[in-house]
C-alpha cells in the first residue's frame, strides 16, 4: 500500500525507523533554491517496496497561490490541483471527521468519547453521523464530567483501546488536568513501560469571536511541560485529517489542538489514504530574509502579513510548526541557518507560552546562527475581553507582524 507523507524533503521507508531520520542525499547537496521549492508541501509517495516518488507539480505552485490568497477563508488551490490530482473539496471539520471515520473503520478499537459527540453530532460537527454509523458503544455521549471521562478514556487506553476524547472546548479540559498530567503522561514511565496510553485528546481552543475569557483559552501553554505527551496543532483541512489519523495510530498520548475559527476552512485534499508526521513542521512559504514560525490560526495572520511584506520587497519564510511538543528543530534549524532572523507569532500569552519555549529552544541550539534577537509576538497577558475591539488588541494582528519583520530586517 502506498502512503503519502507530508514530506519536508524527507522520505521515509515503511520500516520502523522514524520517518524524519532519512534524508535522500540529493536534497542535501542541491542548491538552496531548488531545495526550498521541494520543501513546499510536496507529496512523497512511498511504495511498499521502498521506492520513492516525488510529486512536485501542483503542490509547489500552491505556495505562490497561498501568498495571493493569504487570508485563506477559501484557500482555493483547486485550479492547480484539479487537473493532475483530483481529490475532493471539504471543510476542516469535515476533514477531521473523515480522518476519524477512516480510522474507526480501520481499527475496531477506536472509539470516541465526549459531550454531545453522539446523538447531537458534535458541537462543531466533527463527529456528525458517526454515532449512527458506529453505534452508541463506539461514539459515546458523556455527561458533563471532564475529569472522570478523560480518566476513563485513559483507563480504557491502558487496556489497549484507542479512545479519542473530545473536550467541547479545550478550556474545559483544565478540569481533567490531573488525569492528563499524571495518568496520561506519566503512566508509561511509572509502570516501567508496562502500559502504553494510545489516547487522543482533542478539541477546539484559542481565541474565537467574542466568546469571553473562559472560552478563549490556549491550553497548549499549560500542557507543554507534561512529560510523556505529544502535542500537535492543525491548521488546514489537509493537515487536520493527516494529524488526526497519525494521532490515532500513535502509541503515545497525543493532544490535538484545533481552533474554533478554523473549522470552516475549505481545501481540496487527496482521495488517497495519507497521514501527516506528528513531529514535523510544515513549510508554508519558503523565503530568504526572515523565518516566521507560527501555528494554528496565527498562520493565516502571518500569511496575510506576508502578502504585505512581499509587496514591500521582503521575502519571509513561513513555517507552520504544527508539532508543539516536541518541536521540529530540524526544519526550524535549517530555516534559521538560512535566514538568520526569527519571528515567532503565536496566540498563546507572552508568559509561559509555546513561543517562550520555542525562543529558548532556538536560542539554545542555534544561537550562533542568529543575527538578531528572536522576536516573539504573542497575545497579551490578559484574560480575553468580550468587547470586539479589545479582543482584537489581545491577539497579534497582521499589521504588527509586518512592523516586527520590518524592524527585524533593518
Amino acid at each position: 500500500m502506498a502512503a503519502i507523507f507530508q514530506g519536508v524533503g524527507a522520505a521515509a521507508t515503511l520500516s520502523s525507523s522514524p520517518s524524519n531520520s532519512f534524508v535522500p542525499k540529493k536534497f542535501l547537496t542541491s542548491p538552496r533554491r531548488s531545495f526550498c521549492v521541494r520543501k513546499v508541501p510536496s507529496s512523497v509517495v512511498v511504495r511498499s517496496d521502498g521506492s520513492v516518488n516525488f510529486d512536485l507539480n501542483s503542490k509547489s505552485r500552491r505556495a505562490q497561490q497561498l501568498v495571493a490568497n493569504a487570508v485563506a477563508t477559501k484557500a482555493d488551490s483547486s485550479a492547480a490541483s484539479s487537473s493532475s490530482n483530483p481529490g475532493h473539496e471539504l471543510l476542516l471539520f469535515e476533514a477531521l471527521r473523515e480522518g476519524l471515520e477512516e480510522e474507526m473503520e480501520r481499527d475496531p478499537c477506536v472509539c470516541v468519547m465526549g459531550e454531545d459527540v453522539g446523538h447531537y453530532g458534535g458541537s462543531y460537527k466533527v463527529t456528525k453521523d458517526l454515532a449512527k454509523k458506529f453505534g452508541d458503544l463506539r461514539v459515546l455521549d458523556t455527561p458533563i464530567a471532564e475529569n472522570s471521562f478523560t480518566g476513563m478514556g485513559i483507563g480504557a487506553a491502558m487496556t489497549g483501546l484507542r479512545p479519542v476524547v473530545e473536550g467541547m472546548n479545550m478550556g474545559f479540559l483544565l478540569l481533567a488536568f490531573n488525569q492528563i498530567s499524571n495518568n496520561c503522561g506519566m503512566l508509561h514511565y511509572t509502570s516501567g513501560g508496562q502500559f502504553t496510553i494510545p489516547i487522543v485528546i482533542r478539541g477546539p481552543g484559542g481565541v474565537g469571536r467574542q466568546l469571553g475569557a473562559e472560552h478563549s483559552q490556549r491550553l497548549e501553554s499549560y500542557f507543554q511541560s507534561i512529560p510523556g505527551i505529544q502535542m500537535v496543532a492543525c491548521s488546514t483541512p489537509y493537515n487536520a485529517k493527516g494529524l488526526m489519523k497519525a494521532a490515532i495510530r500513535s502509541e503515545n498520548p497525543v493532544i490535538l489542538f484545533e481552533h474554533v475559527l478554523l473549522y470552516n476552512l475549505k481545501e481540496r485534499i487527496p482521495d488517497e489514504d495519507y497521514i501527516c508526521n506528528l513531529e514535523e513542521a510544515e513549510m508554508v512559504r519558503p523565503g530568504e530574509h526572515v523565518t516566521i514560525l507560527t501555528y494554528s490560526r496565527m498562520r493565516y495572520h502571518v500569511m496575510q502579513a506576508a502578502k504585505t511584506l512581499v509587496n514591500k520587497g521582503y521575502d519571509p519564510e513561513v513555517i507552520d510548526i504544527r508539532s508543539l511538543k516536541p518541536f521540529d528543530l530540524y526544519t526550524i534549524g535549517n530555516s534559521v541557518k538560512k535566514t538568520h532572523r526569527v519571528v515567532i507569532v503565536e496566540e498563546c500569552m507572552r508568559t509561559g507560552g509555546i513561543g517562550a519555549s520555542l525562543t529558548a529552544a532556538i536560542t539554545e541550539n542555534f544561537n550562533d546562527y542568529l543575527d538578531a534577537p528572536i522576536m516573539c509576538l504573542s497575545s497579551q497577558d490578559v484574560p480575553t475581553p468580550y468587547a470586539g475591539t479589545l479582543e482584537e488588541w489581545t491577539v497579534v494582528q497582521p499589521a504588527q507582524i509586518v512592523t516586527a519583520v520590518e524592524q527585524l530586517c533593518q
Binding site: S21, L137, G151
Partner: protein, 395 residues
C-alpha cells in the same frame, strides 16, 4: 505429627507440603490440599443498600484457609519489614503500609480470576502481592532498584502488574476510580465477561470524580465495582469530620451498596463474589470494607495524634484478620499452633531473603532516565542542531 513443610526457595506464595509419612500416625490430611467444604459464618451480617445482601454463610475449605493465612502472614511480614527498611533510609519518599487491611486483598483475590482487573491507590503493596507480585519485585521497587516491578522508576505508589491485570498504584487520591471505570468500559467493549474492582479509601470517597465516574458507569452499565476501603481515617482526619454521610456504601444513591466487615477475609470473599455476579448483570455496585490500618497514613505519620493507642491495640486484639483465620484453623482442627508458627517463621525467612536479594540488586542505569517516556512508535528524538548528534532518544 508427621507433617513436614517443604518451602520453595523462590518467594512464591504457596508452600509445598510433603504428604504425611504414614496415615496410620496422622488422620489429618495436609491442610494445603484438603478441599472438603467447611461452612463458616461471617463475623457480622452484611448491610445492604438497594439490593439484597448475600448470605452470612460462607463455604470455604482447609486449603483456602491455609492460603489465606499464609498470604496474610506474608503481607504482614512484608509491611513490617518495609517499616524497618524505611527507618533505615533504604526506602525513601512516601511509604503507605497496609498492615491490618490484609483481609481485603486476600478475600478479594479469592473471589476473582486474573481476567478481572484491580486498580487501587497508593496503599498498593499487598494488593500487588495478592495479584501475583513477588517479594523481590516489591522490595526492589521500594528501594529503587532495577528488579522492581516498575524498574525502580515508580516507587511505592506505582506498583503495576499488567499480566495479571493489576493496574496500580496511583498517587493522586481518587484519580484511580475514573481509570477503573475506564477499565470496566474496555471490558464491556471487548465483551470480556470480566469485572473491574476500583479501590479507594474513605478520604477519596469525597472526591467529585468518583460520583462522576459512578454516574457514567451506571448510565453505560459498566461492570465496575467501587470498593471503599474504609479504615476510618483520611490521613489525620477521622471519617466523621470529613464526610457528612460516612455510610459510604449508601453514597452511590441509585447504585446498590454493601457494607462488609473488612477484617474478615471470608466475608470479603463472599461480598466480592456477590458483587462480581451483580456487576456483570446490573452494572456498578459499591462495596464498603470496614477495615483498619495499624500504621499511620504513611511512614511520616505516627498514627497516634488523631487516635488513641488503646484504639489501635483494641482492634488488634479483637479484629485482627490473621488472628481470625488462625482461630478458625485451630478451632476446626485443621492444623496445630506449632505448624502455624512454623509457617510464620518460614515466611519471615522468605521476606528476609527477598530483602537481601533486593539489596544486592543494582540501581537503574542512567539511560533508564529517558526510557519509557514515550512508547516506541514514531521515534521521538531530541536532536542537536544539525541532526548529526542525537541528544536524547525519548524511547
Amino acid at each position: 505429627m508427621a507433617l513436614s513443610h517443604l518451602a520453595s526457595s523462590s518467594p512464591s506464595r504457596s508452600a509445598n507440603l510433603l504428604k504425611p509419612l504414614s496415615s496410620a500416625i496422622s488422620l489429618r490430611r495436609p491442610i494445603s490440599t484438603d478441599t472438603t467444604p467447611i461452612t463458616v459464618e461471617t463475623s457480622v451480617p452484611f448491610t445492604a443498600h438497594q439490593c439484597e445482601a448475600p448470605s452470612r454463610t460462607v463455604q470455604t475449605n482447609a486449603k483456602e484457609l491455609a492460603t489465606f493465612f499464609r498470604d496474610m502472614v506474608v503481607m504482614r511480614r512484608m509491611e513490617i519489614a518495609a517499616d524497618s527498611l524505611y527507618k533505615a533510609k533504604l526506602i525513601r519518599g512516601f511509604c503507605h503500609l497496609y498492615d491490618g487491611q490484609e483481609a481485603v486483598a486476600v478475600g478479594m483475590e479469592a473471589a476473582l480470576t486474573k481476567k478481572d482487573c484491580i486498580i487501587t491507590s497508593y496503599r498498593d503493596h499487598c494488593t500487588f502481592v495478592a495479584r501475583g507480585g513477588t517479594l523481590l519485585e516489591v522490595f526492589a521497587e521500594l528501594m529503587g532498584r532495577q528488579a522492581g516491578c516498575s524498574k525502580g522508576k515508580g516507587g511505592s505508589m506505582h506498583f503495576y502488574k499488567k499480566d495479571s491485570n493489576f493496574y496500580g498504584g496511583h498517587g493522586i487520591v481518587g484519580a484511580q476510580v475514573p481509570l477503573g471505570c475506564g477499565l470496566a468500559f474496555a471490558q464491556k467493549y471487548c465483551k470480556d465477561e470480566a469485572v473491574t474492582f476500583a479501590l479507594y479509601g474513605d478520604g477519596a470517597a469525597n472526591q467529585g470524580q468518583l460520583f462522576e465516574a459512578l454516574n457514567i458507569s451506571a448510565l453505560w452499565d459498566l461492570p465496575a465495582i467501587l470498593v471503599c476501603e474504609n479504615n476510618h481515617y483520611g490521613m489525620g482526619t477521622a471519617e466523621w469530620r470529613a464526610a457528612k454521610s460516612p455510610a459510604y456504601y449508601k453514597r452511590g444513591d441509585y447504585a446498590p451498596g454493601l457494607k462488609v466487615d473488612g477484617m474478615d477475609a471470608l466475608a470479603v470473599k463472599q461480598a466480592c463474589a456477590f458483587a462480581k455476579e451483580h456487576a456483570l448483570k446490573n452494572g456498578p455496585i459499591i462495596l464498603e470494607m470496614d477495615t483498619y490500618r495499624y500504621h499511620g497514613h504513611s511512614m511520616s505519620d505516627p498514627g497516634s495524634t488523631y487516635r488513641t493507642r488503646d484504639e489501635i491495640t483494641g482492634v488488634r486484639q479483637e479484629r485482627d484478620p490473621i488472628e481470625r483465620i488462625r482461630k478458625l484453623i485451630l478451632s476446626h482442627d485443621l492444623s496445630t499452633d506449632k505448624e502455624l508458627k512454623d509457617i510464620e517463621k518460614e515466611v519471615r525467612k522468605e521476606v528476609d531473603d527477598a530483602i537481601a536479594q533486593a539489596k544486592e540488586n543494582p540501581v537503574p542505569e542512567p539511560s533508564e532516565l529517558f526510557s519509557d517516556v514515550y512508547a516506541k512508535g514514531l521515534g521521538v528524538e531530541s536532536f542537536g542542531a544539525d541532526r548529526k548528534e542525537v541528544r536524547a532518544t525519548l524511547a
